[in-house]
Symmetry: C2
Subunit: 325 residues, 2 copies
Amino acid sequence: MKILVTGAGGMIGRKLVERLVADKTLGGKPITALTLVDVVESPIPAGAPKDTKPIVTDFSEPGVSTTLIAERPDVIFHLAAIVSGDAEANFEKGYKINFNGSWSLFEAIRLEGQSSPYKPRFVFASSLAVIGPPFPDPVPDEFAPTPSTSYGTQKAMTELMLADYSRKGFLDGVGVRLPTICIRPGKPNKAASSFFSGILREPLAGQEAPLPVGDEVRHWFASPRAAVGFFITAATIDTSSLGVRRSMTMPGVSATVGEQIEALRKAAGDKAVALIKRVDDPFVSQIVKGWAGRYDAKQAASLGFKAEKNFDEIIKVYQEDEMAQ
Amino acid sequence: MKILVTGAGGMIGRKLVERLVADKTLGGKPITALTLVDVVESPIPAGAPKDTKPIVTDFSEPGVSTTLIAERPDVIFHLAAIVSGDAEANFEKGYKINFNGSWSLFEAIRLEGQSSPYKPRFVFASSLAVIGPPFPDPVPDEFAPTPSTSYGTQKAMTELMLADYSRKGFLDGVGVRLPTICIRPGKPNKAASSFFSGILREPLAGQEAPLPVGDEVRHWFASPRAAVGFFITAATIDTSSLGVRRSMTMPGVSATVGEQIEALRKAAGDKAVALIKRVDDPFVSQIVKGWAGRYDAKQAASLGFKAEKNFDEIIKVYQEDEMAQ
């Protein structure tokens, strides 16, 4: 089985590739080739199949998708994208990479299938940024995407196209709407959501962390390990019952900042909690109000997609996957 | 005020232009120029402003949108599209015209606005084909579009883009999801929905009409006159409260075939009803099952969009607008 991963150099992309290499199989079939695409060099984990190649390229440039698809990967994990802030600040670039780039992959697949049958599983990393306020609590699967960013718009448009190309039989698509990933390893970044990881990650390392919002703020989370699991599940589920409902909200843990803090207290004590410094930030608070705190991810749950059950588990995953090293 | 109409040669386009010419104003401002675009020659109604020009062109061809937008129309009615069956049979053509063509208009507007401020009202003819089964009854405004055709996909993608370009301030968009238009003047066509008009239009003219489905089939209707009203309303409403919810299901009459027939009986008697010939067509029945029969068009109703109240009114509109001539 040949696998193509775009965005293979990113945080989730690297973890997905590590998991594929460790598993050696996908859906019971041996993985024989891995093509790892990113604008930066993708690391190759030890034990990767011989036919593993990192390709440094921009998949949204003309012809690149055709070249990648000419190798007829059986499964495509399409994670490459520019992030929300970048797509908002750079309108043309966002549409070019996040939308036209994805379309160019779909088109390359459709055209490849015209010479002889070809219908790969296409796993698309979508985002809950497709959902915009005002929303009910919890947000049901059937709630109309009305994104409040260009990034969310590009993801929602790609979801629609993924469904249409699937309906027409050109590919077998599954869209995975990721919750906010927590605890992200590494350093704080400029994302408005950065603090959700920071208030746990930094205290667990004995460092102070700023908290820009109130304890009552509720959000939707899954661990990096769960995110990798979503992609593996998306690559292996039976899609025959999906119809055109190809993109799904992933299960997650709905937790308030206060609940995050209590989970930290259980895991690392009052001393860790004391490292959280309350620094109100009305700008961040305002952005966070535009995000839903709870989803009813029925369709995904019924298909076997699994997240953690609570924040204790999310912290435990971080300790096992990041701190044990 | 300058107005651009794409699809000005079509049935609704022609009626919209006639209404604009009769009104002489739009939203209280005198109409000074009309540009009427279609792949066929658009008729110019008597009394049209001096600066009225029909342009025979395909707006999806490179450069055409830029030329049309260079004249800086204040209001754009974008009705041009290829129909559902054509878009389903011709995959590339559907995306090129219905999606890329619309995008090229949005892009031309955005780029035109870079030299000096320009933000036209953009009224987009969308479709209830964005909604796919299974659906609740009635279908609420917040129900997620999961189109079951490429045509519906292209309309849904354009809706998303219309909202994003509006949010960014490049244009001021309103999307109008039209109900099935009834009674269509003229002859039966190959659309699966053709009989909804045929079973009234033909008997009103003393001719037989086939009925391929059962009396219990429920559908969502508005007259051509109401459709024109939707576009006029969309061009003149205050959009400040819409946020990113720019595309709306239009109000309509929910009626069963049986209720249509009873309205015909009231208008033209048993003799007219006797001209309806039941000819079961499982193929048409199957397609029609994929369409919702009732929508809760709350947002549009609250903004003043108005359809007929019942089928008696729909028949009366046909008699006044088509049979009186």
